[in-house]
Amino acid sequence: MVEVSQHTLVPEHRLIDDDEIDALLAEYDISRTDLPKIKRTDPALPDEAATGDVVRIERDSRTTDRAVVHRLVIE
């Protein structure tokens, strides 16, 4: 099988720990389910990702240098 993370279209996906999640949710004053979602079966997710985790995605942005977004792992 091909290494999905090596593809130029796939940005870096990294799981973040609970402290980082809390800081993130506090910063935007939102709850976990307000985040955009990502399926647990998504090929780009790290293998150890479980439902309820949050991944930090660092995109090579078209408008700024790097764009950081977060997605909640579902199902």
Binding site: Q6, L9, K39, L45, R62, T63
Partner: protein
């Protein structure tokens, strides 16, 4: 030609500009003859313009995006209009393609892939051709002539030796594949292959010929044609393959294919193989290319990014429209206002749905201020007391 001095750098770095704009400021200063003071005021002017054009809190960005894509859309080619695009491969363009993208159709009208090759195969035409034969589907008519011998109840195939060599497939393999897929006894001598129905039957004989034509001997069934093009890249030239038809997952596994750059115009295939983030990138790229090809490249990419963000927010690809985003709105009134009003109202009544009037559309319908812009800001009058000792709320 101006040198970037410390003073300039300090001003530029001190601004709120994103990195890309800072680089652009440096570039323009370097390209011109300006004094330090001028450079500083340039940087300040750029910053103030940047801050001015940023989106205000509570701006209805979705509406702005809809207008900004919709207006240029009126100038696009209305009817499906194919033309020989890159490498003489037909691609759907203009409005039909844009609609296809935002509707998130399962298969596009003209699926295609851009296949990049790895270092060993990219610079050598022979090697590139090897990859082509593993991708392009080879059917019997490409390998030789088929004739029916009604007297002996036989289908005769005369294979072309040259083509066999070129496509790297042997007559024996061809015979085996025919035997396996049609379930008939095949006799092969040299480049001639003969077979016929078990029981003499004219109908069955013709049927065999039809089935024979459908067999894929080599390559990927979905890909009907591959075009090789030599293109200039940063470090020299390389061969790039363009395919008519797509099977993204299969192609990535083929030897010689650079699985890190190869792309596909079917957003669902990208989603299945590379995930939702790659699908988002593809939606942006494809919509932007569609607009650019119609000379509408001045649409700001942020609008397309917003569309792609919304389409992929749930972790899957959702279409824009009543089967996707608009159909999943929480508010009954908002859904009813979009399309098929009566059905939505009826269903909502049957299920006893409640509308919280949180969104824009439903508040417009009931005549309340919407929660956007100044509509979502509460002003509280406060006045200092006359002696200035404190504030009264």
């Amino acid at each position: 030609m101006t040198e970037i001095t410390n003073a300039i750098e300090r001003t530029v770095e001190g601004t709120d500009l994103p990195k890309r704009l800072k680089d652009e400021v440096y570039e323009s200063i370097e390209g011109r003859d300006v004094t330090d003071e001028q450079a500083v005021s340039i940087a300040e002017a750029v910053e103030s313009r940047y801050l001015d054009t940023r989106v205000e809190p509570l701006d209805p960005v979705g509406t702005v995006s809809a207008q900004s894509i919709g207006e240029p859309g009126t100038q696009m080619t209305m009817n499906t209009f194919h033309y020989a695009g890159v490498a003489e491969i037909d691609v759907t363009q203009g409005l039909p393609r844009l609609i296809e993208l935002v509707d998130a159709r399962k298969t596009p009208d003209t699926p295609m892939m851009t296949v990049y090759l790895d270092d060993q195969h990219a610079e050598n035409r022979e090697k590139a051709h090897e990859v082509v034969w593993n991708i392009e589907s080879t059917r019997i008519l490409a390998l030789g002539d088929v004739s029916t011998n009604v007297a002996d109840m036989l289908v005769q195939v005369n294979l072309n030796e040259q083509t066999l060599d070129e496509r790297m497939i042997s007559a024996e393999t061809v015979a085996e594949i025919i035997e396996d897929s049609l379930g008939v006894e095949v006799t092969q001598t040299g480049t001639t292959i003969e077979f016929g129905p078990a029981e003499p039957s004219y109908r069955r004989l013709l049927q065999l010929v039809e089935e024979l034509r459908e067999i894929v001997f080599k390559g990927i069934e979905e890909v009907s044609r591959v075009v090789i093009r030599k293109e200039d890249v940063d470090d020299g030239e390389e061969f790039i393959l363009y395919t008519e038809g797509s099977a993204f997952g299969d192609v990535l596994d083929i030897e010689g294919v650079d699985a890190s750059r190869t792309t596909c115009n079917n957003i669902h295939e990208v989603y299945r193989n590379l995930g939702v983030e790659a699908a988002r990138e593809t939606i942006i790229d494809e919509t932007m290319n569609t607009l650019e090809e119609q000379g509408l490249g001045d649409v700001n990419i942020r609008h397309l990014m917003l569309v792609a963000d919304i389409m992929t927010a749930e972790g899957t690809i959702e279409s824009i429209g009543r089967h996707g985003i608009s159909g999943n709105k929480n508010s009954v009134l908002a859904r009813a206002a979009f399309e098929v009003t009566v059905n939505h109202l009826l269903d909502a009544a049957v299920h006893g749905e409640v509308d919280d009037l949180d969104g824009v559309t439903e508040n417009v319908i009931v005549g309340k201020p919407i929660k956007l812009g100044t509509g979502d800001v509460n002003l509280r009058m406060g006045g200092a007391t006359t002696d200035g000792s404190g504030r009264a709320d």
